[in-house]
């Protein structure tokens, strides 16, 4: 990837992030923060490639720590976001599904 293409991606992604969140109601701020926390868990794929290309014991150790931490980010981010969002129901949903 050339530097200039990457620069375009940086710029467009930044605007996308700003726009996507701009319309979020306050009630969803905490789940959304947790959700975006999950999304940057994509660092896992980078950590996997690093560990997958590690040759010396030192590289393996650092790579292992990277994948370990990134997996925590991914799984923890998913579980906590999912738990929070699962609880958001309107009165109509409740009537349909009975009172929880």
């Amino acid at each position: 990837m050339t530097g200039i293409i990457a620069l375009y991606i940086f710029m467009l992604a930044a605007f996308t992030g700003y726009e996507v969140i701009a319309r979020v109601p306050v009630i969803l701020h905490t789940p959304l923060m947790s959700g975006s926390n999950f999304v940057h868990g994509i660092v896992l794929v980078g950590a996997m490639v690093e560990l997958g290309n590690a040759h010396t014991p030192l590289e393996r150790t650092i790579g292992f720590i990277g994948v370990l931490l990134a997996s925590g980010n991914v799984v923890g981010g998913y579980v906590s976001t999912e738990r929070m969002l699962e609880m958001f129901k309107s009165s109509q949903d409740k009537r349909k599904g009975g009172r929880a």
Partner: protein, 463 residues
């Protein structure tokens, strides 16, 4: 590390990463509305799953067992902790998981730097900046977690603290610049010094910040991790990491601003002043606190036409949300209109109170946020304040000398009657006396929120 070569496998990986980036953006978009929110995290989850799986096909990958072990151990620990943490502790868990992401980004940079291969100028700059941001986010988030979890109780402050912090940052930047000048082919001691300094800076800069301000800091670190991931994504030539990281970086920055604004603080103020815990003194207030007992309060709300409940973190601490909802259901069955008014910073971060109420089973359409509900207080018979304080203090509108002047508040004082459930007579988080409590139409119901709610339920049933 070499970029992905052009081959069938390489194209497949690129295509899947593209799909993952798309799924992340759709997921985040869906999470911006209560209806689609649940689906949003699933979309993003599918993106993460396919991106993770296809990465095993990366040319030249080995150490598969090590990778799977790390994923299994890290994932299991996070799954176990994420499933059993109570909803009140969610903010610090987000901090913890976020810190892990920052640490992973720093680890990627560290590995690239110890590998000692020559860098092009742009990647080495971004690798080092990403490493700095990631490492600060890692150690800073851990401190934030420890503080909210109560593991660190004191906020360490001393004279000249900001100068010390600045010098540590300066030293980190100097070492970083040195590594950049060496094109990443730096001796091990330099790499170690760099990461030690960056981690220390994260600790030093977070430790003086008070618990009240911590959510803003967590949100800031969330944005930082996103940026670090995007920068390391550039180093690795990984577009999915650049897009996802940058989207989170931008979104997190906006969210941080929204939070700081709701608390009437600038970000610089949060990071560099000591307001979070120090007691500020406003003027003294004329009038007296007028207590009421639960039986009288119960009759008052049972025969009201409209009641607005204003919950604060005090309610969550007392775990009273279930009892309060039980009380509200009784009132609704009697024909009383019940609404919940939520201030953006009720709870520990914006939206935290909504999560706590949702957990108790309160439907979200009964919940109004600041802008929509403030007009309704004028037509409300009883505003029931439970464990909220500063967010209903009318001095924010009236007293220019008050430290909270200008902060948006819920206009509970405009209701015909106000009942305040409060544990004791102390001041709020900010240490400011609450003028609302002294108004002629305000009555104080002293006691633990859960016990008071139970007594109110009895009173309403009897009425």
């Amino acid at each position: 590390m070499s970029a992905l070569p052009a081959s069938v496998t390489g194209d497949l990986i690129q295509a899947v990463y593209f799909a993952a980036a798309l799924l992340f953006i759709i997921g985040l978009k869906r999470m911006s509305s209560p209806k689609g929110a649940r689906g949003g995290i699933i979309w993003a989850g599918v993106g993460m799953l396919i991106a993770g799986l296809v990465t095993f096909l990366w040319p030249g990958m080995h150490n598969d067992i090590l990778i799977l072990t790390a994923i299994f151990v890290g994932g299991l620990a996070a799954w176990w902790s994420g499933k059993r943490v109570p909803m009140t502790a969610m903010p610090q868990m987000v901090a913890l998981y976020n810190g892990m992401g920052g640490g992973a980004a720093a680890a990627i940079a560290c590995q690239e730097l110890v590998r000692g291969h020559p860098f092009a100028p742009a990647p080495v700059v971004l690798a080092v900046i990403g490493a700095l941001i990631g490492a600060v986010s890692f150690s800073g988030s851990l401190i934030a977690f420890a503080k909210l979890q109560g593991l660190i109780k004191k906020s360490l402050r001393y004279r000249g603290q900001q100068i010390v912090n600045f010098l540590v940052l300066l030293a980190t930047v100097v070492v970083g610049a040195w590594m950049i000048a060496l094109r990443g082919d730096a001796p091990m001691q330099l790499v170690i010094a760099f990461f030690a300094l960056a981690l220390a800076f994260g600790v030093l800069v977070t430790i003086p910040i008070g618990g009240a301000d911590m959510p803003v800091v967590i949100s800031l670190y969330n944005a930082c991790t996103g940026l670090a991931v995007a920068f390391e994504g550039f180093v690795l030539g990984n577009a999915a990491m650049i897009i996802a990281g940058m989207v989170v970086g931008a979104a997190g920055t906006l969210l941080t601003q929204l939070m700081a604004k709701a608390m009437n603080r600038s970000l610089a103020n949060v990071l560099f002043s000591n307001f979070g815990e120090s007691a500020a003194q406003g003027g003294t207030i004329a009038g007296s606190l007028k207590p009421i007992d639960a039986a009288d309060a119960g009759v008052m709300i049972a025969y009201a036409e409209k009641v607005i409940v204003v919950p604060g973190y005090g309610m969550a601490v007392a775990q009273a949300q279930h009892k309060i909802w039980e009380l509200c259901q009784l009132l609704i069955d009697r024909g009383v209109t019940v609404r919940f008014a939520i201030h953006p910073v009720a709870g520990r971060m914006p939206g935290h109170m909504n999560v706590l109420l949702a957990e108790a089973g309160v439907p979200y359409d009964l919940i109004g946020d600041l802008d929509e509900i403030n007009a309704e207080f004028d037509t409300t018979d009883v505003a029931l304040i439970i464990g909220a304080n500063d967010v209903v203090n009318p001095v924010a509108r009236t007293d220019k000398s008050s430290p909270i002047y200008g902060m948006p508040i819920l206009n509970a004082d405009r209701a015909k009657n106000v009942i305040v459930i409060k544990r004791g007579q102390g001041a709020g988080f900010s240490g400011i006396e609450n003028a609302l409590f002294y108004l002629d139409n305000t009555r104080m119901l002293y006691g633990d929120a859960q016990k008071a709610a139970a007594e109110l339920i009895q009173a309403v049933k009897a009425g």
